[in-house]
């Protein structure tokens, strides 16, 4: 290869490489399906761990999820009170607080709400981690609150009929009812010592989350209408504790731009030398 051909080849090759880099760099952006997520903002002050009405909640972006009457497995229920659930979350790098807010015309002792997470790496079916036939699933961790106890219960399940409270109760919860609305705050540390029982929350990582709500009102015979599997449910959505701000992208971009500039500079200088020679 003579120098001239080599030069041509190099320019083309260099250009192609740069173009490939530029094109592939853009390829990561495409998202196939829009998913809705709860994003727990990172805060520096104190978390409103047991205050559903704290002003701090105003800074948390709400996510709204539609709820269905549970008709996936028996016992079914064809109508439920709660149609939509508004969820906010905050964390401080150590603890997480999740606020559920929903309209319920009556305050009843049996009103209840729950949050569900997958536990571990395996996917779990949203209905209590019931077994899947072709895929090995994992368990779920459920954070449960009931009006009359007004505290958090930390539960575990892998399939129907397996629901049981943890030995280690790590979850706190507190609800307050006002103006036809429940506001219930759940809190826990992001990580626990029991990764095979508890959902672990790592800032920056998306995990699955689902919800359930029971309106504890009674029928004329004095029976609670929404109880057990007869409840309002959601399917899996996403949840993420937001990571601390990361500016490395700007640094990388700066380095790349400087390199590209240097490349141009050297190229032009060398070309000028060639011309004057």
């Amino acid at each position: 290869m003579n120098p001239e051909m080599l030069t041509k080849w190099l320019i083309r090759w260099g250009g192609t490489a740069a173009m490939i880099a530029v094109l592939t760099a853009g390829a990561g952006d495409g998202v196939a399906q829009e998913s809705v997520a709860v994003r727990a903002a990172l805060v520096t002050g104190t978390l409103p761990l047991d205050d559903p009405n704290a002003a701090a909640w105003n800074n948390a972006a709400p996510a709204v999820f539609p709820m269905s009457p549970q008709v996936h497995w028996p016992e079914r229920i064809q109508q439920v009170t709660v149609q939509d659930l508004t969820v906010r979350a905050l964390h401080d790098g150590t603890q997480i607080a999740v606020l559920l807010e929903y309209a319920d015309p009556t305050e009843d002792p049996d009103d209840a709400a729950a949050i569900e997470f997958m536990v571990g790496d395996k996917k779990a079916h949203f209905a209590h981690g019931q077994p899947m036939l072709l895929v090995e699933g994992g368990p779920v961790n459920i954070w449960y609150w009931k009006s009359k106890d007004n505290k958090g219960v930390d539960l575990w399940a892998k399939g129907f009929g397996t629901l049981r409270p943890h030995e280690h109760q790590d979850v706190k919860a507190k609800g307050e009812y006002a103006n036809g609305k429940w506001r219930v705050v759940f809190s826990r540390s992001l990580a626990t010592d029991h990764p095979d029982e508890d959902a672990q929350i790592t800032p920056g990582q998306f995990i699955n989350i689902a919800f359930a709500v029971w309106d504890g009102r009674k029928d004329d015979a004095g029976q609670v209408i929404e109880k057990g599997s007869q409840k309002a449910v959601s399917s899996w959505w996403y949840f993420r504790a937001e990571p601390p701000p990361d500016y490395s992208g700007y640094v990388y971009a700066g380095v790349a731009a400087v390199l590209a500039l240097g490349f141009q500079f050297v190229l032009i200088r060398k070309l000028k030398e060639g011309q004057s020679a």
């Binding site: 190099l10 320019i11 998202v31 700007y250």
Partner: protein
Amino acid sequence: MGRALIRPIVIMGAMYAFLKFVLPNIPGSAEIPASLIILYLLLTLSGIIIFETLSAESKDAFWGPMQRFLTGENIGGLQPLRYGILVLFPVLVGWQTYNATAPSDSPPAENRVIHPAPPGEYTGLANPVPKTPENIMQGKGFYAAFCSPCHGANFDGKGPAARGYNPPPANFADPTTIAMLQESYLFWRIKKGGVGLPIEGMPWKSAMPRWELELPDEWIWKIIMGEYDGAHQTPRTWE
């Protein structure tokens, strides 16, 4: 020749050390992804190669005008364009690098396969129930009782219980659902439900019940008939 090679090697080594060990320690920065290091080294390398190999003789029809454009010699009115390109190129490289490395802020992309292949034993089964008006009627009755809360009384996927489920219940009136499928495929889906889907169907998200636990096969075959009839679709036949 031996000496000519030393300089590029030293430069590349220094560049690598800078990217790998110096840059990550600058406050606000972090470990640089391998793909990015490769991109940086590639740019450095092409600079070096051009620097080392470009000679006065390298001029020809292809290269001459481009060279004049880049150096800005006697290009008159094209000068602003030249500056534009010289500014734009580094900006573009920087921008694309930013896009490629900025931490992703969106939930994982989900590519759920809506119609995964059924297990072998469910291909080509024929509906054993005679297609009589009574059987179709009965199927529609079962459909109304068991399926319509999710799939809708109008077979449009908009039943009163549908709104919270993601993925949503299938819309049978849509020509891309059951009209594209064989009856045996429906038999499989209805019997095994969402939990019977293979991994690409994301079974953990599906609210479709596993009806084999609640309904006899004969009812399921009747429901299939009622479903096609009610949705004004016909099953895809065996080819």
